[in-house]
Homo-oligomer: 387 residues x 2
């Protein structure tokens, strides 16, 4: 059991295969253990008084498979509540993760009266982000909201205003900022490993064909907010800007899918864009819902070397290849699954100190504004939009 | 000796390491042999009367290392003359390749009176392409001219007019059209292996620092015509359009190098561009003289699969990776060195029949016009240029 890969352990746990008592033994495998869990309450924190208490809102695939397991290795957070329209899901997950406080979407606002909730993690369809984020802030809770932040920049602005009014923190769950291989890539770039960056390319896409998976919500604007750029292209956008550490001053974009594809009546099926930095660097990105296979890759072309990531932004395996500046070498940086725990911990510390999270609402707003500018450009034949 | 890799054999031959008599034995290694060479005249053709007779103009690194060795395996061409300003180079190469007719740039026009020359292969700096191509056409010879075709589209037009006036063929040496792995890539795409193409990216660059190699001529506009796009970016441009089999109707481009890099006073050090097809496909390309290491890669994103080439357009090793549409697989397609012989043979057959070469002057003109349009766009902040 201690040799079981962490990924498998989590998947089994998420699937309910492990009994709670088994977790204590597996927890030390590949991860730092923070004490011995008590029998029957394996998620009881080591120093419970110091852990922020979280409500998870929305129990869909991503929540169950990735976000919730992230709490297992968290040092500063523990789950205390689930918000869902499905009592069955709450009961099942509650028994597995030691969570017993359940809310639904009708009585959600009553979390204001629950002192066992410090932070709320919004993992709902994008179209519901603004509403539930604002309701949680009004209830006096700090909010970590999944990416993309909301359907429109106006919604993002309202969310930021609500956080300010409530004097609470609002973070956007850009997990890549906490993913070890991406963190290493940024450090390598900052430390001059590839020299001056000349050019960045970022391509992210997959085939969102409803017949191949639960993609239907992705194609509905009311739920998804936008198309491929909202869902998958935002990784390339946000990560490129993270690595460059500066903002573009103009952009242009073009749609890249057949206009007659019936899937893409409400949201774009693909788009490619150019961001221009004042110093002459271009970031060229693309995203698509009509590529096969899943592609997640980014390349940083430098004066000394090229840093390539493929895959670049997955949950569980990212790789850096550096070419030039010595022999070609592949670099990884630890277990990518730690990104979920690291993100929850970072937000917990920000909430406790009531200081901004590393990826705050303002970053989410910036990205939605950039995507809206891409749509404006693409709607007008690729015209240049000044930012 | 028969097991010696073809590449090594050619390099040694080009370097003068092999005595002529040794070639007969090595010729069959990995290549189809077309008869037994005669002792002392190893380049005597099998059916000499059926081989077109070529003059090679310019004996620089590329001519000696790549183009001239291509004649060894040619079935329809043989070299009969060298044109150079260096009698020593002519003598040395002449003794190795069985060529004894030597011209210099002063008496070049007298090739008109030499019945032992059918075709002329122009391997001069770009700034001299138009002049020597037109002089050779006026001398009544067919001309294969290296890429890029010339410094300006006006020069290209004059070259095409000269070919028409002389009733001779003018081809541009786009070797990739004859390189087996690229030919296979085009066939795979045509036969639907990756489905409908959604997006194409092409990146080609290297570090043209004079301290690292004979790059000085590349930075002089009078010799090179243009910068990274002329020299290396043109591969991505031409090859993408070859694979797509259709032409763009607009483009935009931005320079991607620091404006204050002292190397790039005369020609651009890097540029990235977007070609738009009427059907909504974008080709996004880049080229640079300030990247490290050498990068040559192209990706075709399709509805069924992705076809990736890295390296894509080298002399001696190109690889296709297909992801999606079954297990990921790498594909090669025979000895890339055959591209040089295949190109010479194809042009020889075109010249003999006096019908257009596969990559005619008009294709060279198209590419120079596209690059000029890129420069116009980049000079105007990336404005869209209608084609």
């Amino acid at each position: 059991m201690p040799d079981m890969p962490d990924l498998t352990r989590r998947r089994l746990l998420a699937a309910g295969t492990f009994a709670p008592l088994a977790l204590g033994a597996t927890r030390a495998a590949g991860q730092q253990a923070h004490g011995t869990p008590l029998a029957g309450d394996f998620l009881l924190p080591d120093r419970p008084g110091e852990k922020l208490r979280w409500a998870v809102v929305g129990l869909g695939n991503f929540a169950v498979g990735e976000a919730i397991p992230g709490f297992i290795d968290s040092r500063h957070a523990r789950m205390t509540a689930f918000v869902s329209g499905s009592p069955a899901k709450q009961k099942d997950l509650g028994s597995r993760f030691g969570v017993s406080r359940f809310y639904d979407y009708a009585n959600f606002d009553s979390i204001a009266n629950d002192p066992e909730i410090d932070c709320v993690y919004i993992i709902l369809p994008v179209g519901l982000h603004a509403e539930y984020t604002i309701r949680a802030l009004k209830a006096g809770k700090h909010v970590l909201c999944e990416k993309p932040m909301a359907s429109t920049s106006a919604e993002c602005e309202a969310m930021i205003a609500a956080a300010k009014a409530a004097k609470r923190q609002l973070g956007i769950a850009y997990r890549i900022h906490f993913e070890p291989t991406n963190v290493l890539a940024r450090q390598l770039i900052e430390h001059g490993e590839i020299g001056d960056i000349r050019f960045v390319s970022a391509d992210h896409g997959f085939n969102a064909d409803p017949q191949y998976g639960p993609h239907k919500w992705r194609l509905e604007k009311a739920l998804a907010g936008g198309g491929s750029m909202f869902d998958i292209g935002i990784y390339g956008l946000n990560t490129s800007l993270m690595a460059l550490g500066r903002e573009p001053d103009e952009l242009s974009a073009r749609y890249i899918y057949p206009r007659d594809d019936p899937r893409f009546r409400e949201v774009e099926g693909g788009i490619e864009y150019r961001l221009r930095m004042a110093d002459g660097v271009s970031v060229v990105g693309s995203s698509s819902y009509s590529w096969n296979p899943y592609i997640s890759q980014q390349r940083y072309m430098g004066s000394k070397a090229s840093l390539f990531m493929k895959p670049a932004t997955t949950y569980n395996r990212n790789t850096i290849t550096i070419e030039g500046n010595g022999p070609t070498r592949e670099v990884g940086a630890g277990n990518p699954l730690t990104q979920f725990a690291a993100q929850i911990d970072a937000f917990s510390l920000a909430a406790r100190a009531n200081t901004p999270h590393k990826t705050p609402g303002e970053m989410g707003l910036r990205d939605i504004r950039l995507i809206e500018a891409m749509y404006r450009s693409a709607d007008n034949g690729g015209e240049i939009v000044k930012l």
